[in-house]
């Protein structure tokens, strides 16, 4: 079933909406969640939560790309779930490593207090991504959006994990420069 038909089911409040969305994008969402959470049980619960969140968000939303809409819901819910899990000392997936890497880009002082500032920051990162060649752009998004492991990226690109790590390091340096030039205090 096409995206538009599934979104229509959500708008009609049809009980088929969630099963159809799960059939089409369940495994995609599970991959996003699993990279962040690591645990299969948490992943399954997180995907169910994301589909429920989609049910609550559509309407009023009418996403043009249902896959990325569900992916973003899943990613946010997985990060929230991970924060809670940390209190109970379980889970983690790739996030601890990724946070360590991102420490190179930031100062560590909280500065993004409101949603507007965060949107500006996202827009600046989007424009930086636009300036990259496709291969590097996809590599960065796979690592920091999909939270793929270096090994997965190596398998995906046919390069060695060390090479991937070096490329990502250079990309982080470049992002830091880009954000500093645009007035963000990293």
């Amino acid at each position: 079933m096409e995206d538009s038909a599934i979104v229509s089911l959500f708008w009609q409040r049809s009980p088929e909406a969630i099963p159809e969305a799960q059939r089409r994008y369940g495994s995609y969402c599970a991959q996003v969640a699993a990279n962040i959470l690591g645990s299969p049980e948490d992943t399954e619960e997180c995907v169910n939560d994301a589909l429920l969140a989609a049910w609550n968000a559509i309407p009023p939303h009418r996403p043009a790309l249902l896959r990325t809409f569900l992916g973003k819901l899943t990613r946010n819910l997985a990060l929230n779930r991970r924060e809670k899990a940390l209190a109970g000392k379980r889970g983690g997936g790739q996030v601890p490593l990724i946070l360590e890497e991102l420490r190179e880009v930031v100062s560590g002082r909280s500065s993004v207090e409101d949603a507007l500032a965060q949107k500006e920051l996202t827009r600046a990162i989007d424009s930086w991504l636009d300036s990259l060649e496709e291969r590097k752009r996809n590599l960065f998004v796979r690592r920091y959006w999909y939270c793929d492991s270096l090994e997965d990226l190596a398998a995906r690109t046919g390069k060695r994990p060390n090479t991937i790590a070096v490329t990502l390091h250079r990309l982080r340096e470049d992002l830091r420069r880009h954000l500093t030039e645009r007035g963000f205090e990293p």
């Binding site: 992916g71 990613r75 930031v106 993004v112 989007d126 920091y144 690109t157």
Partner: protein
């Protein structure tokens, strides 16, 4: 900012970036890539031999008998310089016969409904596709900065009869816009296509690398739409391009027919 704030901000990246990164990587694994490179090179060599067959002396096509080393000084080198082979088969746009078409009547793009009680939808893997078509479903050449994706619509009656066998390759650009679609169907179910020819005119065909191709064109909103219909090994195929120049459209087409990514297109 903190690294966690940055991680959250990254979560709101533009859909186009997230979507583009979700596509399968263009690069294949080294062993598979080498195998494909070998196949492509062999196909190119065969294509070159075929294209240059009139200029190759007939005795080069047969195995020469072993000869004894002649006595005396070696023969002098010929005066003419060694021939320079082109880096790929050449194809000229000047001889193409392009039929002028229109967008035709608006037709619903929704696929027909198949009752799940009577039909099942199947998903074929690469091996099943290879067995069905007798060749891999791939495009040796497609435009840079686009992502190639494969999809399919396979429906079978529960009695076993195949009623839909559409296999698709699409290329989307950075704006997630489809720039080309290849449809392959042994049953000949190719859809209406982006260019419709008037019923009154007999469409002209062009021989492209030994394959009869019906090539049609229309423009809309300042963009070129090309539609090519042809058969590969007897299997009906349709290539549609949107916003691609003619040279690129023909390069995709010739690459597919020859199984070669280095076709040179000349005016």
């Amino acid at each position: 900012m903190t690294n966690y704030e940055l991680l959250l901000a990254l979560g709101e990246l533009g859909d186009r970036h997230v979507e583009a990164a979700s596509a399968p990587q263009r690069r294949r694994s080294p062993s598979k890539g080498l195998a494909w490179a070998g196949l492509a090179a062999a196909a190119c060599l065969l294509a070159l031999l075929w294209l240059h067959r009139p200029s190759i002396p007939p005795d080069l096509w047969v195995e020469a008998p072993p000869s004894e080393t002649p006595e005396g000084p070696p023969p002098a080198a010929p005066d003419s310089p060694p021939p320079v082979l082109p880096s790929g088969p050449e194809l000229s746009l000047s001889g193409l016969k392009i039929n002028a078409g229109t967008s035709g009547p608006a037709i619903s793009g929704a696929p027909p409904y198949f009752d799940p009680a009577l039909y099942t939808q199947e998903t074929w893997d690469d091996n099943q596709i290879m067995n069905y078509l007798g060749r891999a479903l791939t495009l040796p050449w497609y435009p840079e900065d686009t992502e190639l994706r494969q999809s399919q619509y396979i429906v079978r009656k529960k009695t076993g009869e195949l009623v839909r066998d559409q296999l698709f390759l699409t290329c989307t650009n950075g704006e997630n816009r489809t720039v080309l679609t290849l449809t392959v169907s042994r049953l000949g179910i190719l859809g209406t296509g982006c260019v419709v020819l008037p019923d009154t005119a007999e469409p002209q065909t062009t021989d492209i690398c030994g394959t009869e191709v019906t090539l049609s064109h229309r423009t809309a909103a300042g963009q070129d739409f090309y539609l090519a219909r042809f058969a590969l090994d007897g299997i009906p195929c349709q290539l549609q391009t949107q916003g691609l120049p003619l040279a690129d459209t023909v390069r995709v087409l010739a690459g597919l027919i020859l199984g070669c990514d280095s076709v040179i297109i000349t005016e």
